[in-house]
């Protein structure tokens, strides 16, 4: 056998093999595995891509624990796009454009009783939306370049987790400092009536309903130094009248005036308050027209009449 004939046989065999593969699995030729072979940087996902924004967080949460830097079950890693493309012990897990041929997708659909179902063990199955995201990504070519907006019909992303940030205690103290003296003085005079809206807030809630009719307009006037810090005010059952100085509470959001001898004038004062969200005036002399005026301004008015 001459060398040239040997070359011919090898060449023919190679072409036949490629042909056979092309017939059986055409997607191989668009497969990023080839790209991975050429250079790893091609396999990096782009920031803002569908993969980076939608797919990677799911893999990170659901898969990387067993298929990542710590453990490489089935010799598979999923902590980077290149690793996902490379696949594991049993070969590729992603066939670009074909979710039904991609184990990354099909194994998610198996019933929990199937030994091959992922995630394995007692870990919960992926929610339908997350499976759909993975399906759409593979169907669109499993690339790291396709942008989020290019994939239509993707389920809406979950809202970001609720985080609670509290300001540093010194910034709260600074905010409260100009008020503290008056809060102390009035708190002593009207016990249990003044409270900070929250531990992080410089706003005040004033509730004097337990002082009953011993609390009147003159008492309310004493709150003038704190007026711009008060966002909630409950005067129910007190002796306040139409002459109550309510206009000074410029930042007032919620006020309750139940069972007070108040009516038109008080509502006029309230109408000037820009931050006002709700007024409750059950058992007052408030007129329906004025109530309607307040409601037109977007203020919720409660008068127990619906």
């Amino acid at each position: 056998m001459t060398f040239s004939r040997y070359l011919l046989v090898v060449a023919l065999a190679t072409i036949a093999a490629i042909g056979a593969i092309a017939w059986a699995r055409p997607s191989v030729f668009t497969s990023p595995v080839v790209v991975v072979g050429l250079g790893r940087h091609f396999s990096e996902s782009q920031p803002g891509s569908f993969y980076a924004v939608r797919v990677a967080p799911i893999l990170e949460e659901r898969c990387v624990g067993c298929h990542g830097p710590k453990l490489q079950r089935a010799r598979l890693r999923m902590d980077s796009l290149g690793d996902v493309w490379l696949g594991g012990k049993s070969g590729r897990v992603v066939v670009a454009g074909d979710p039904r041929a991609s184990e990354l997708y099909t194994r998610l659909l198996l019933p929990k009783s199937d030994r091959r179902a992922m995630p394995a063990g007692t870990k919960p199955p992926l929610p339908a939306d997350e499976i759909r995201v993975i399906e759409l990504w593979i169907a669109s070519g499993a690339s790291g370049h396709t942008r989020v907006e290019e994939i239509a019909n993707a389920p809406p992303p979950p809202p970001p987790p609720v985080t609670i940030e509290t300001p540093a205690s010194d910034s709260v103290a600074k905010m409260r400092a100009p008020l503290e003296v008056q809060v102390g003085v009035l708190g002593e005079r009207y016990p249990g009536s003044i409270a900070w809206v929250s531990r992080a807030s410089g706003d005040l809630a004033v509730d004097v309903k337990r002082l009953g009719t011993s609390f009147g307009d003159a008492d309310l006037a004493r709150f003038e130094p704190l007026a711009r810090a008060i966002t909630r005010l409950d005067l129910s059952g007190t002796a306040v009248t139409d002459a109550a100085p309510l206009a000074m509470f410029e930042r007032l959001e919620h006020v309750r005036l139940n069972d007070t001898n108040t009516g038109d004038a008080v509502l006029d004062a309230l109408a000037t308050l820009r931050a006002l969200e709700s007024v409750t005036l059950i058992g007052t002399r408030a007129h329906t027209e004025q109530i309607a005026d307040l409601r037109r301004k977007g203020v919720k008015v409660y008068d127990a009449r619906g």
Partner: protein, 496 residues
């Protein structure tokens, strides 16, 4: 030769002789008390908030961590686990499967209270129709609540890991299926205190033929100081047991007695330094103040007849309707947490009272109008904006008909289903007219957006202004919290 002792030496000697083990423990208890207080101090806890108060005012109000969306809670617990398949979770596919054998996949790896062998599927027992702007499907058993769907926030994907009543109720109400943890109401009054010192911060009202299966531990304070436990009030007979003075004792005499008791307790407190003594003094004083105010607030005969009729409440009848009206009067008077229980929803089908086609109807009738009236009333009074109302049971019920002992039963019923159940919330910062999560076509398991009990708790605490990690209490060397050790999340989709 014996040395002659000076006076001081003699005294010192006799002091040593006199100090015995008992004295040591007693005085040491000052130390123990101090150590106890030490464990309460923020320095010991890891990043939790400081909830220390003067022991004489254990219920003094404290501001929440962040501005709250809800300032008080009415939690309506339907003990026995109502069937959402007959109320809120519409499953037309299940209707088609009615009477067919249950698929094997529903039974594998599952534990049931009573179902055995292969049960039959059971379609919805009542017709459903869409209600309100949001178009939520509601059964004809809840016509009054159906008028409020646009105020409600449904969670259709609740899950629990308990399939028997008492532990499941404990899980929902205390975050822990075992005894000994504080109830939600206890945590909330511990964290926020209460604005009205003349009423308890945490009130419990029961109705239905029985108490809830897990009993008093549902509203117990667990490892929190006992002052944070729920105070049980009654809408029939004496509103609060043992609160009223005996007939021949005047209020002045009671005051004089309390003053003497107070001096004795103060002396004990000085001697032992135990903060629980001061807490006890505070509780006596609160009871004295409550004698005046509680009876009035709990007396629904003071309400106009039209309001009572809206609820269907009759003074002194001890009904759920009366309790709903009392709940409104309590939150109006700044009670922080009102817990209602209505027992009887355990619709297995083993007896008429617990049959979906019989007793269940009565339960719906007895609770639908009152709870709807409560929502209307709160809304009209401007209280719904910052009052969180929660309605729910401890688990769901199976889409299979119960076949106790493998037999077809005389009445129609469903077994316990911890894999999914529906609750709803209203007011206090939840998204009105919304629905979250989904069960499968049979209403058996959650297929979308599962919400664990601890997620519900985390969300409730968030609405009240707390990061659930920060509302904690040091016990057994741990910063204990309502949501326990498993990761819990605030469900952002439920927030308005």
């Amino acid at each position: 030769m014996k040395r002659r002792l000076g006076l001081t030496d003699t005294l010192a000697d006799s002091a040593l002789v006199d100090i015995q083990r008992r004295h040591f423990l007693r005085h040491c208890s000052t130390g123990l008390g101090a150590m106890f207080l030490g464990t309460m101090s923020p320095a010991w806890s890891s990043g939790g908030l400081d909830f220390t108060r003067d022991p004489a005012t254990p219920l003094a109000p404290l501001p929440p961590q962040i501005a709250p969306r809800a300032r008080r809670v009415i939690y309506v617990h339907m003990a026995g686990a109502p069937s959402n398949l007959e109320m809120f979770d519409y499953k037309p596919e299940l209707a088609k499967q009615d009477g067919k054998d249950c698929p094997q996949s529903f039974l594998e790896g599952k534990t049931f209270a009573f179902i055995s062998g292969v049960p039959k599927m059971l379609g919805p027992q009542y017709p459903f129709a869409q209600a309100g702007q949001c178009g939520a499907w509601m059964s004809d058993r809840v016509p009054h609540v159906a008028k409020h769907v646009d105020d409600l926030c449904f969670v259709r994907s609740m899950r629990t890991d308990q399939f028997n009543h008492a532990p499941a109720q404990l899980a929902v109400q205390t975050g822990n299926a075992r005894l000994g943890s504080p109830s939600i109401g206890s945590w909330v009054t511990y964290g926020l205190g209460t604005e009205n010192q003349n009423l308890p911060g945490f009130v419990v009202l029961k109705s239905g033929t029985n108490a809830p299966d897990a009993g008093k531990p549902l509203w117990g304070s667990g490892f929190l100081p006992s002052v944070y436990q729920g105070v049980e009030c009654r809408s029939a007979g004496e509103p609060i047991l043992y609160l009223r003075n005996p007939d021949d004792i005047s209020r002045g005499q009671r005051r004089a007695m309390l003053d003497v008791l107070d001096r004795l307790n103060q002396r004990t407190a000085r001697e032992f330094g135990d903060p629980e003594t001061l807490t006890r003094i505070a509780q006596y004083e609160m009871a004295f103040r409550m004698q005046a105010e509680a009876a009035q607030v709990l007396d629904i005969s003071r309400e106009p007849a039209s309001v009572r009729a809206a609820y269907g409440a009759v003074p002194g009848d001890g009904s759920f309707a009366s309790n709903c009206l009392i709940a409104r009067r309590l939150v109006e008077n700044d009670v922080r947490f009102v817990q209602l229980y209505h027992w009887g929803w355990d619709s297995h089908g083993a007896a008429p009272a617990e049959a979906l086609n019989l007793g269940f109807k009565d339960l719906c009738r007895d609770t639908d109008q009152p709870v709807a009236a409560l929502l209307t009333d709160l809304k009209q009074r401007g209280l719904l904006d910052d009052t969180l109302v929660v309605w729910g049971g401890e688990f769901g019920r199976t889409p299979m008909r119960e076949n106790r002992g493998g037999q077809e039963m005389r009445h129609v019923g469903r077994d316990h289903n911890p894999n999914s159940f529906t609750i709803w919330m209203a007011g206090g910062g939840v998204k009105a007219g919304s629905s979250y999560g989904e069960t499968d076509e049979m209403g058996y398991e959650v297929v979308r957006n599962p919400v664990e009990v601890r997620d519900l708790h985390a969300t409730m605490l968030y609405l009240l202004g707390f990061d659930h990690h920060k509302l904690n209490y040091r016990f057994q060397g741990l910063d204990q919290k309502l949501t326990g050790v498993h990761a819990a999340k605030v469900v952002a989709e439920l927030l308005a």
